[in-house]
């Protein structure tokens, strides 16, 4: 009885089968989720076409308007050199988000592959891989990223690489756990029974069925990676100063926080809002998926 019911729900993917109108209706009842999507889409817009969102450039400053407070003209105020901080935040989205995306792709790609191999091969390979993962988990990722950046040299690309490397372990662990549970499923045994080779089973059955929880982790990891990239930027390991980058913007404003608090707090708040929004979206994705 229950088996039949399980097969029925498993065959119907709830996320795709639901009519679009109903999904929109559900969204309307979750205003915070809608707001989160709007935040994320706007920020992606900032990164893709910053010129559409601000008429100021990120570098051009008006020395006479140094440290003007937030106003209709300068939404986030201006910095020491009279540069518009809203424009610098908008252009900074490009630097920070590109690095974030790169970091998550590296962690996702390498981590998933490593986890898949460990979980699927089992035995000595699995043990060896897991012990290496243990080591990466033993070093806090910010510290590991700092060490990697110090070896590679300071730049935004290297920050992306460092953050990516330091998050490989968590992806590998989740993927491995998922693979281990998928390979015991009946449909995998059935595929073997039908004479499908190991590689075929891996690609056609194990990978597609293991990916969902890794994708959920990737959604969560985007927020974490934005924070890590900005933190390393704040510590001064990223783009050199004239460039706009979110962490660096906060660091630049920090020296004047006593007199001109908005110069660091507004770019920082923009960053925080983006991270909260991505967390909200990933939480709802995971809830959606559990149903």
């Amino acid at each position: 009885m229950t088996v039949g019911l399980d097969a029925f729900t498993a065959g119907r993917r709830p996320g795709l089968a639901r009519p679009i109108a109903r999904r929109l209706g559900e969204l309307a009842r979750q205003p915070i989720l809608v707001a989160s999507w709007i935040v994320v889409l706007v920020v992606i817009g900032w990164a893709v076409a910053p010129g559409l969102f601000t008429s100021y450039g990120p570098y051009a400053g008006d020395a006479a308007a140094s440290f003007s407070p937030p106003s209709a003209e300068h939404w986030f105020g201006t910095d020491r050199l009279g540069r518009d901080l809203f424009a610098r935040s908008v252009y900074g989205a490009q630097t920070t988000l590109t690095a974030t995306l790169l970091a998550v792709l590296i962690a996702f790609g390498v981590g998933t592959l490593v986890g898949l191999i460990a979980g699927f091969a089992g035995g000595i390979v699995d043990t060896a891989v897991m012990r290496v993962i243990d080591v990466f988990l033993a070093i806090p990722s910010l510290l590991l990223a700092m060490v990697v950046v110090s070896v590679l040299g300071y730049s935004t690309q290297n920050i992306a690489l460092a953050v990516g490397i330091s998050s490989i372990a968590s992806f590998a662990r989740v993927m491995r756990a998922q693979v281990l549970s998928v390979v015991t499923q009946d449909y995998v045994k059935a595929a073997y029974g039908l004479g499908v080779g190991r590689l075929g089973v891996m690609l056609r059955h194990v990978v597609p069925n293991s990916l969902s929880s890794v994708i959920a982790l990737a959604a969560l990891e985007i927020g974490t990676a934005v924070l890590a990239v900005a933190s390393l930027g704040f510590l001064g390991y990223g783009a050199p100063p004239p460039q706009p980058e979110w962490g660096l913007l906060v660091a630049e404003g920090r020296d004047y926080v006593a007199v001109h608090p908005w110069a660091s707090i507004l770019p920082g708040a923009a960053l925080a809002v983006v991270v909260i929004a991505t967390h909200r979206i990933s939480t709802s994705y995971r809830k959606d998926h559990r149903r």
């Binding site: 012990r131 290496v132 243990d134 080591v135 988990l137 033993a138 070093i139 806090p140 990722s141 910010l142 510290l143 590991l144 700092m146 060490v147 990697v148 950046v149 110090s150 070896v151 927020g223 924070l227 900005a230 933190s231 704040f234 510590l235 001064g236 390991y237 962490g247 906060v250 660091a251 920090r254 926080v257 006593a258 608090p261 660091s264 707090i265 920082g268 708040a269 960053l271 925080a272 991270v275 909260i276 967390h279 909200r280 939480t283």
Partner: protein
């Protein structure tokens, strides 16, 4: 039981050894010429060759990599991680100098984070109105979303510059500890609170709580006697994550508040490419992580009779 003990201790030792090896490869082998790292990047090309050779010889960089590795490992086993390039003092002494300040900050922040997490979990399980519960349950994810450098700067702005309640910088006295402590406690509390919210909810639905209700226990009595003890146990499982959050958070907190400590020292060591000091710090952190996980693995069976029984029979 003995097998369990040996396995856990073996794993802890392996993690520390591997962290040493990993940092050795990263810091001493991967850079094309590790001697370059010892000089200021701006001056590296103007260093006379004989000085380079002398420096290389004094750090042992002229010898085969495997010999360097074995010598360093041998020294590390006796607690000698070499000398800091910047200060010329032994790495271990340099770290020990600033360690108490960071331990104080981390211990205080952990205590505060636990309090915050328990209050959130309690509020989430006691809230009657759904929107209040949703709001409280959203707090932990908000706590980890706000960058530590932003919350630190906000604290500085509001409580030091506006209200003048606490000093903005320095590490003199208890008053200067308050703001860094709160700043660090916020992100650390997030994952603990998320876990506690879940385990409080599970425990409240369990049979023994129903029994207590039936016996006429009050809500407060149930929370203190039944739920609190059983729900706190799972929090130990994320002790490693908590430790990592404390370390990462203290790097930024100490930078924002210009406090002395391991985090700020690490940042300075990385800025000046003080390779032995960086390696020493990373290995020390790995030791801390391995120790904490070992302790948790060892005391968990003591705290949870079910697990103890499983270990005794298996």
């Amino acid at each position: 039981m003995l097998r369990y003990l040996a396995l856990k201790i073996g794993r802890a030792l392996f993690v520390v050894w591997a962290a040493f090896t990993l940092t050795f490869v990263l810091l001493f082998v991967l850079p094309a010429d590790p001697v370059d790292l010892l000089f200021d990047p701006a001056e590296v090309n103007s260093v006379p060759p004989e000085v380079r050779a002398q420096v290389a010889a004094s750090y042992g960089f002229d010898r085969p990599v495997i010999l360097q590795y074995l010598t360093r490992l041998g020294h590390a086993l006796t607690g000698d991680f070499g000398t800091s390039v910047q200060s010329g003092r032994p790495v271990v002494a340099t770290i020990l100098d600033v360690l108490p300040s960071t331990l104080l900050l981390a211990a205080g922040a952990l205590a505060l984070a636990l309090v915050i997490a328990f209050v959130i979990a309690l509020a989430a399980t006691s809230a009657r109105r759904p929107w209040v519960r949703d709001l409280v349950e959203a707090l932990p994810s908000g706590a980890v979303s706000v960058p530590v450098f932003l919350s630190g700067i906000l604290m500085l702005q509001i409580f030091s510059f506006r209200l003048g309640w606490f000093p903005a910088f320095g590490d003199e006295g208890a008053r200067s500890l308050v703001l860094p402590l709160i700043t660090l406690a916020i992100p650390v509390s997030g994952p603990i609170a998320q876990l506690l919210v879940r385990s409080f909810a599970t425990e409240f639905r369990s049979g023994y709580v129903t029994t207590s209700w039936a016996k006429g226990a009050t809500r407060g009595g149930i929370v203190v006697r039944d739920v609190f003890r059983n729900a706190s146990l799972p929090a130990l499982t994320i002790a490693g994550i908590t430790f990592g959050n404390l370390i990462a958070g203290s790097v930024i907190t100490e930078t924002v508040f210009a406090r002395q400590g391991v985090g700020r020292m690490t940042q300075a060591a990385i800025n000046t490419l003080d390779v032995p000091l960086v390696q020493g710090t990373v290995v020390l952190v790995a030791v801390g992580f391995a120790l904490i996980n070992l302790i948790v693995d060892l005391i968990y069976p003591l705290l949870d009779p079910r697990l103890r029984a499983a270990l005794a029979t298996g």
